[in-house]
């Protein structure tokens, strides 16, 4: 071997050597850049991952959807459910080194309640009338009305505790109390987090760090996972799940969630202002077919935002088989003997919801619905579609409690109902009002079962399915389960050598 040959061989070795993965740094691929680092203002699934790694809430939600203490060690409430006192865990430190105290909790919620912050979940907390720091480690919330699920909604994505003296730094150098510390963020590239050595739970986290890599192309994400460039793909499209599961070194994990998609029918605009037309649509389309065609089976038909795997799901209500004849008869009875011609708006670029639109267009045809698909970018939904279009496809992430999943969407005074369905049903209002006045599951259950019965009799819109959430992992990744709320709990995660 000449020297030149040797040089070439050495160069080839160097160039083509497998890229070294930093030991203990977990690389998670997401499709879109985060637009904000301020947890109160986050609105996307990618951002919620970050929220839960860098910050903590008063309570947190486990993968089985039960709620457990986090920054609050325990809490108690008055029998009228209107005054809640949270006892903060002592010795919890922000990443800046300062201890977390009651003042931080109060400031965090003041920001969320201030309309100027633009916090997405603000309406869920408007019941808070007054907050009091009883002592540095105790906070009392006095509510405007009784609310049984108050500790549960403290586990939501955006309601994280931030330092009262570090608000201005949130967009650029955010500081929290979570298991990972913010290092850097390059939009279009990656968010880099490092282990929080002062995290309050002994032995956690195990990883040296976490990187959220922004990789827009799904084909590239899949290739990079197989190549070992990535450890986790967050959100695998349902049609890819089966194919990817067979690849060596890759594990696919799918969980049922309470996230749902629907064809929103505006009850204030023709033709859906007639309940018969809404019912006719339900007769025309079998939800099981919709799940198969839209989600490749990665989901389950549902009646309301309460998902089929939830103990409150009403199993006695049948998912109707398609009956196009009955649908046409119902339309005729509503004054549409020749069927209904209506445009259906779908969000351009949201693959699954676009597919749902086309599926409904095809399946509803024999039932007398002549649907024309209109693609509109999701960014324009707010200004042009919500409250204006009679019929459009939309969907919502799971909420932390059954109340927050149903009340805002279905109660006649609900904030989301005012945007989406414009639905008014006195029986529905009654059960929703009653259910939030109790914190006990055995009292809530019959009410929510009745809710679903009312919704099947008088459907607000076509709530098609609860969607599964699919993630893919290198088999070397241990201690992580796909979370039905679509974020990651990485406290126990590790990477096998």
């Amino acid at each position: 071997m000449t020297r030149a040959h040797f040089g070439l061989a050495a160069l080839a070795l160097l160039v083509f050597a497998e890229p070294a993965a930093a030991q203990g740094v977990l690389r998670i691929a997401v499709g879109t850049s985060l637009s904000t680092l301020d947890p109160a203002r986050t609105t996307t699934g990618e951002e919620y991952i970050y929220d839960n790694l860098v910050f903590s809430g008063l309570t947190r939600m486990r993968a089985d959807l039960s709620v457990e203490p986090e920054l609050a060690e325990r809490w108690d409430f008055t029998p009228d459910l209107k005054s809640w006192t949270f006892h903060l865990r002592r010795g919890v430190k922000f990443h800046s080194g300062r201890e977390m105290v009651a003042q931080d909790v109060i400031k965090s919620f003041e920001r969320i309640l201030d309309p100027a912050t633009g916090a997405a979940p603000r309406t869920n907390y408007e019941m808070i009338e007054r907050m009091t720091a009883v002592d540095p480690h105790t906070v009392r919330f006095d509510l405007k009305y009784a609310y049984g699920g108050f500790a549960d909604i403290m586990s939501d994505r955006q309601v994280k505790i931030v330092p009262h003296d570090g608000i201005d730094a949130l967009p650029t150098q955010p500081v929290g109390t979570g298991p990972f510390v913010f290092k850097s963020y390059t939009p279009g590239d990656r968010l880099v987090l490092a282990r929080n050595p002062a995290y309050w739970e002994a032995g956690a986290p195990k990883l040296d760090g976490v990187e959220l890599r922004v990789v827009p192309e799904i084909a590239v994400r899949l290739a990079a996972l197989q190549a070992g460039d990535l450890d986790i793909i967050w959100e695998v499209p349902p049609e890819q799940a089966k194919a990817l599961g067979g690849k060596p070194g890759v594990r696919v994990d799918s969980v049922a969630t309470a996230s749902w998609d629907a064809a929103i029918m505006n009850s204030a605009i023709a033709p859906f202002n007639d309940p018969k037309v809404r019912q006719a649509f339900h007769l025309a389309v079998d939800k099981r077919d919709v799940v198969e065609l839209t989600l490749s089976g990665e989901g389950a038909p549902t009646h309301s935002p309460i998902p089929p795997n939830h103990p409150f799901f009403n199993k006695d209500l049948p998912i109707g088989k398609a009956d196009p004849r009955a649908a046409r008869q119902m339309l005729a009875a509503a004054g549409h003997p020749n069927g209904v011609k209506v445009p259906l708006v779908v969000p351009a670029g949201r693959a699954i919801r676009e597919k749902l639109g086309v599926t409904l267009q095809q399946l509803a045809k024999p039932g007398g619905f002549d649907i024309e698909i209109q693609r509109v970018p999701f960014a324009r939904y707010n200004a042009e579609i919500s409250g204006k279009a009679p019929f459009y496809v939309d969907g919502y992430f799971a909420r932390p409690t059954v109340d927050t999943s149903t009340y805002p969407f279905l109660h006649s005074s609900g904030s989301w109902n005012a945007r989406l369905f414009h639905y008014k049903n006195a029986q529905v209002d009654e059960v929703l009002d009653k259910a939030r006045l109790t914190g006990k599951a055995d009292e809530q259950k019959p009410l929510y079962l009745a809710l679903q019965k009312h919704l099947v009799d008088d459907p607000p819109g076509y709530i098609a399915y609860a969607i599964n959430f699919v993630c893919a992992y290198r088999t070397t990744v241990q201690g992580v389960a796909t979370h039905p709320m679509r974020w990651f709990d990485l406290r126990a995660a590790s990477i096998a050598p």
């Binding site: 050597a17 939009p187 827009p216 084909a219 590239v220 707010n382």
Partner: protein, 319 residues
């Protein structure tokens, strides 16, 4: 020559200024509301109106334009609305990474493209020439995003030789780590352009080789090597220089695609981010930087052209 340079430079300034008008006008015609983009979908109408007031979105367009332009002249690129950070450093960082891709690609395109073109022109009709012609058509016809996915599947997923995505600075993973992240994007960017440049050089060279002065050079007994290098190539390269400058534009477009597919954090990704999030200040500043780069590339081509072609520099300088 100095007069010529000054004239071309003045031309660049005019082009960039006109483009700044266009960019500003077009971005204001884009659908979507900036205040909504910042406040998110939960904003109330009153909040949106208040923010529009703060951002000066209610001022007449010429006032807004002047505010923007005078800021740019002072080196203030504005504030990214979505990220709430100054746009200047963000753009500079992205530009630096994109420039690495662009410079590496353009150098390879020039060297390999010209070499292949000359080789093929001096060996016309041979098997090598024909294969090359076939390959040229193929590489010109197939778009970048297709190559990108293909090389990722082949070199990353299957062979596992090269990383599929991302960028690592030299300080973090050494020269080799840095280089491995560049190989696939650069290969993707150059494939089509090498075909383009070599095709053009080939035909230009073939034409030049038939010129009487080449015959004269050969007749006075010059070695073929010198005939090619000193007499033929310099003339044959004139159209190639122009095409290389035009290719800078194609390259910029290609960089946007390649950066997206390879998740490479350059200026292209930043522009896409700005468009997706309706981040107008970031978008405007980014587009103006791209325009300026393109104008400067054409200036460089003009100067190179003048250097290679005395008729231009003397003609203009005298006239």
């Amino acid at each position: 020559m100095a007069g010529y340079v000054a004239q071309r430079l003045g031309f660049v300034v005019v082009v960039v200024w006109v483009m700044s008008l266009l960019i500003f006008g077009i971005t204001h015609l884009l659908p979507g509301n900036v205040a909504y983009a910042i406040l998110g979908q939960y904003a109330t109408d009153a909040q949106v109106a208040a923010l529009e007031q703060v951002l000066g979105l209610n001022d007449p367009l010429p006032v807004q334009y002047w505010r923007w332009l005078s800021g740019l002249l002072r080196g203030d690129f504005g504030q990214s609305l979505v990220m709430q950070r100054p746009a200047g450093p963000l753009i500079l960082e992205g530009l630096g990474r994109s420039a690495i891709l662009g410079a590496a690609s353009l150098t390879l395109v020039a060297l390999i493209g010209i070499w292949l073109g000359v080789h093929s022109a001096t060996h016309p009709g041979t098997l090598g020439d024909r294969l090359l012609t076939l390959a040229q058509y193929f590489f010109i016809a197939v778009p970048e995003f297709f190559w990108a996915i293909l090389v990722i599947l082949f070199f990353s997923a299957w062979l596992k030789w090269l990383p599929a995505t991302g960028y690592t600075p030299i300080a973090e993973s050494g020269v080799m780590g840095w280089l491995t992240h560049l190989l696939l994007p650069v290969a993707t960017l150059t494939a089509g352009l090498i075909a383009h440049v070599s095709r053009l050089t080939r035909s230009s060279m073939l034409e030049t080789l038939r010129a009487p002065y080449v015959l004269a050079a050969r007749a006075k007994g010059l070695p073929e090597r010198l005939v090619l290098r000193r007499h033929a190539l310099r003339n044959a390269l004139l159209p190639t220089i122009t095409v290389l400058a035009v290719d800078v534009g194609i390259l910029i477009g290609g960089i946007v695609v390649v950066e997206t597919v390879f998740a490479y954090p350059g200026l292209g990704r930043l522009l896409i981010f700005a468009i997706e999030h309706r981040d107008l200040p970031l978008l405007q500043a980014g587009m103006l930087v791209v325009t300026t780069v393109y104008a400067l590339a054409n200036l460089a081509a003009d100067l190179l052209y003048a250097w290679a072609n005395p008729r231009i520099r003397y003609g203009r300088a005298i006239g």
